[in-house]
Symmetry: C2
């Protein structure tokens, strides 16, 4: 099939819903999309009031979600006279993660079998399930105490959100499920295996993106952690290592071909190439046009910041950066992942919990507060905040940190606080940028994607001013599904490689937010204060804080005098 | 007149209104009260939208207020068969301060004369008028640079609220008024002079309480600051010193006797002894039963904390304590005044500005938030705040400090913040208590008065737990007017001296808030965190703050585990 024709389908399995996107391969034009909210639980998530950390998903929703959204997207695409199902060259998959599910030796999710039907212990453990916090601490402790290198690529600390913590938690707390579990399979590996019919857990393709960022997989120690390390956590835990295909692969590799069964159910021809899956944020970065020198920020309730660097560059481990995994984003390149544990969540907390309703109903409050905050000049609030309401993922990598705001007077208003919270997340973003550059990875441009950059110009302008860099916005509003479609196009042979596909299929919007020199200067002074607080409360030395409040007043007075 | 009969009248000139209280001298029983809101301005205060720091009062309101409230209170008292006007043994006066007014050589307020009628520059400058902030800074600077001792008794810094700053501001900005001003008279000196007919500014009695706390008057430098100091600020400023009767006097001294004119207008007999006036907070302390070993806290929008100590004790200057003036509270004793620049104002700020209306209409929000905050256990919020939203009056004496709150998570609620703000003011109160005791003035009991102690048991319980001391509440809800009445009784000869009058006329309520040992322990840990923040941001050394957030989380988890 020639390059200048054909379509690719990307399917994005999100936290609450799944969406399928049909993309024109030569241009990247998105000709059809369909979404479906998972049927089980509330908004697709199964919870337990007795265990607030529990968040599960029913695996049936993944199969149904694939069939519903792909068949609907294909139907919608049919309205385009250029489209026909036979022109689909490939399929790509991205999912949340780490979202592992226990399967039997035939690759069947336990929660779909009679013995365990509707048992939450046998369901997929959604990324935000934190029931395994004790197991995560235990894994970190064993790695550090035993001198194992396994944490060196994932920010120095194992998370309760990740693969092995969840598998270990099941071993400890759900013996019947553990006994029946032949393998733990990441959602991004499960879906390609399911739709291609390659069900055997021992031979199904495994994503290096998920394995590297979530399961301590790395080529330098030949894959997953060694059996001795795993069995030391729980005897027999290493059986899951044995049933894990090595090497794990990037997404330009073939997971298989669409099976007859799923072809019939979706209206597509059988045999379409299906790419190895990957995590949503990483494929989102691809859909936003990531490449060497480009930082992609995926901003939502939290952020994921992705970079790539040539594999042959000698990039050192970057302290405090969550993940550095070969080929996790673009094949042949090193993937670097960082992020902030709360961004939109902090704004939502203020709006939903703290701010008065004088700014409208809750839906309108973000707009009302944003409008009022837009009228303030940088520094005018006299406030500085720390954005650690959900701990700090990077660069301090410390979940036991919390929020702080300083500079309040009896005249402090909600828009001032709201703006200070936005600024705090921008300062946190700058800390990550500075850390990455400090270790030799230079950042030439920043592309933002996600709901906040699409909807909130104030946030983007503040980020441009605080970071003193132009902020670009991804052209696509569905970068994750687009990234998956790009890999579909690559495994389908429509483009030679990922960079070529990106050049054709991705782009940025016309509007770029450029730094305003006057604002940059004020934020430079405020960032010095943020840094002093950051270091003092984040255990980085003991900066003096005795000038903080006075400097804030001076900055405020200066901002008002300029008005 | 025997001691076991007779009545005294106390008149309290507040910020918005004046109230008169008729008190039974042997028992302290309050048999009649009348109040009147000043007629001029909004709630008695004349403001100027172009000058937000301006707050003036029309002197006519003081005369009308005295006549209206005293005549009404006397009428109401007439319903008591024991009362008759001839049984009134004395009158006492307390007022806000520093609230000086410019008068001519006959003691007539300029704003009542044709040339200046209704000119705000010629009116009384209410305590909370801050137009003179530049002049206050200039006075502090000159005192420090010139090695003058004048700030040593008033906390080390002259305030824009005080006498000389206001007089100097008028010299600089209102030359016509300044030229016509023969003397500046504190409101608490003006009212006794007015009603006794002793109008001449050079001979009218001056309150040592007002002069000592607001005008840098002290016996050790023979009264007001020297002419050379004053004229260096503005040539001729020392003329006000020459027209200021020395020595200034405590309130057990006679200002004069009720004149025929005011006797006729109030329904009282002429000739009743009138005490030298004093500031409201200080007489409030007397009405609350102050004596050696008793700290009286007058809690409202801000607080005033009063202590007395025997004059012959060698009490040193206490660094960071606002005022130490002989006889300013009780004759023959040293008066010590400290305070917090915002307490109720911080709670009001949160309710009026920041908190959502889900806790009721604004009037009901304090009650709603208090109820929800009452259900929290100490430490459960994981928050600590600094109570410096209006700067810090004591013990840091630094107006350029501001508020701070640390420990927020995405789950932090308004009642948690509200409780943290209450706790912050309690920690601030403890700092003052510790500082006073550190300098050898021991505090055996604490009596609270004002609106907050009357209405909010949660605040009182938190203060008891934080300070690890029982908190008593004054029996009278009108301690200022009662304190004035006590001095009326003393100058009337009904009691031998102030302590004797207090023994008969004051008391505390039955309910005492006692420390709960479990809460005391938690607050001990939180106070250590408050102190670290206090010292770090308040320029007292450089404590390490790297454990603050972790300690708060540990305290929170412990509190929740106990629940």
């Amino acid at each position: 099939m020639p390059k200048d024709t054909g379509f690719s389908i990307g399917i994005d399995f999100g936290t609450n819903s799944v969406r399928a996107l049909v993309v024109d391969v030569p241009s990247g034009e998105e000709i059809a999309a369909a979404a479906w909210t998972y049927a089980h639980g509330e908004d697709g998530i199964i919870t337990d009031p007795r265990q607030p950390n529990l968040a599960r998903q029913h695996p049936e929703d993944y199969e149904e979600g694939f069939v519903r959204t792909v068949s609907q997207a294909v139907r919608i695409a049919g309205a385009n006279r250029r489209f026909e199902p036979s022109k689909v060259v490939g399929i790509g998959i991205d999912t949340t993660g780490s979202t592992p599910l226990p399967v039997d030796r035939h690759g069947r999710p336990l929660a779909t079998l009679d013995d365990f039907r509707d048992d939450p212990a046998a369901m997929a453990r959604l990324w935000k399930d934190h029931t395994a916090h004790a197991e995560a601490a235990e894994i970190s402790e064993r790695a550090l105490a035993g001198g194992y290198p396994y944490l060196s690529k994932c920010g120095g600390r194992y998370s309760s959100e990740w693969y092995w913590a969840k598998a270990l938690h099941c071993e400890r707390h759900n013996p019947a499920v553990a006994h029946a579990t032949f393998a733990w399979v990441e959602l991004c590996d499960y879906v390609p295996a399911l739709i291609t019919g390659n069900h055997d857990p021992r031979t199904m393709m495994r994503s290096i993106c998920a394995a590297g960022h979530k399961a301590m997989y790395h080529p330098s120690w030949e894959g997953l952690p060694c059996a001795e390390f795993l069995d030391g956590l729980s005897p027999g835990l290493s059986r899951f290592r044995e049933r894990f295909r090595h090497p794990a692969l990037p997404s330009d590799r073939l997971a298989g071909h669409l099976s007859d069964r799923f072809a019939q159910r979706t209206g597509l021809p059988a045999g379409i190439p299906v790419a190895v899956g990957a995590l949503d944020a990483h494929l989102g970065a691809v859909g936003a046009g990531i490449g060497p020198g480009t930082l992609v920020k995926i901003m939502g309730t939290s952020t994921c910041d992705c970079m790539v660097a040539p594999l042959d560059d000698s990039i050192p481990d970057i302290p405090g950066v969550s993940g550095i995994v070969p080929e996790s984003v673009i094949p042949g390149m090193l993937g670097i992942e960082a992020g902030q544990s709360a961004v939109g969540d902090i704004f939502n907390w203020f709006v939903n919990r703290v701010a008065p309703s004088g700014y409208g109903l809750r839906e309108q409050m973000h707009a009302g507060l944003t409008e009022a905050a837009s009228k303030l000049r940088p520094g005018e609030s006299g406030l500085v905040a720390l954005d650690w309401h959900n701990g700090n993922r990077n660069v301090l990598a410390d979940p036991l940190l919390s929020g702080l705001i300083v500079g309040q007077t009896l005249a402090t208003t909600p828009p001032e606080i709201y703006r200070a919270l936005i600024e705090a997340t921008a300062f946190g973003a700058r800390k990550i940028i500075e850390r990455i550059e400090e270790y030799g990875v230079s950042i030439e441009r920043v592309v933002n994607c996600g709901g906040i950059p699409e909807k909130n110009p104030l946030v983007m302008q503040i980020y441009a001013d605080v970071c003193n860099r132009p902020m670009q916005i991804s052209r696509s509003a569905q970068t994750c599904a687009l990234g998956a479609a790009i890999f579909g196009a690559v495994v389908g042979g429509a483009h030679a490689d990922v960079p070529a596909a990106q050049a054709a299929m991705t782009g940025v919007k016309e509007t770029t937010y450029c730094p305003d020199p006057a604002a940059v200067q004020v934020y430079e002074a405020l960032y010095r204060i943020y840094s002093a607080l950051h270091d003092a409360f984040g255990s980085v030395g003991s900066p003096r804080l005795d000038r903080v409040m006075k400097d804030l007043i001076a900055i405020r007075q200066h901002a008002r005098a300029d008005a």
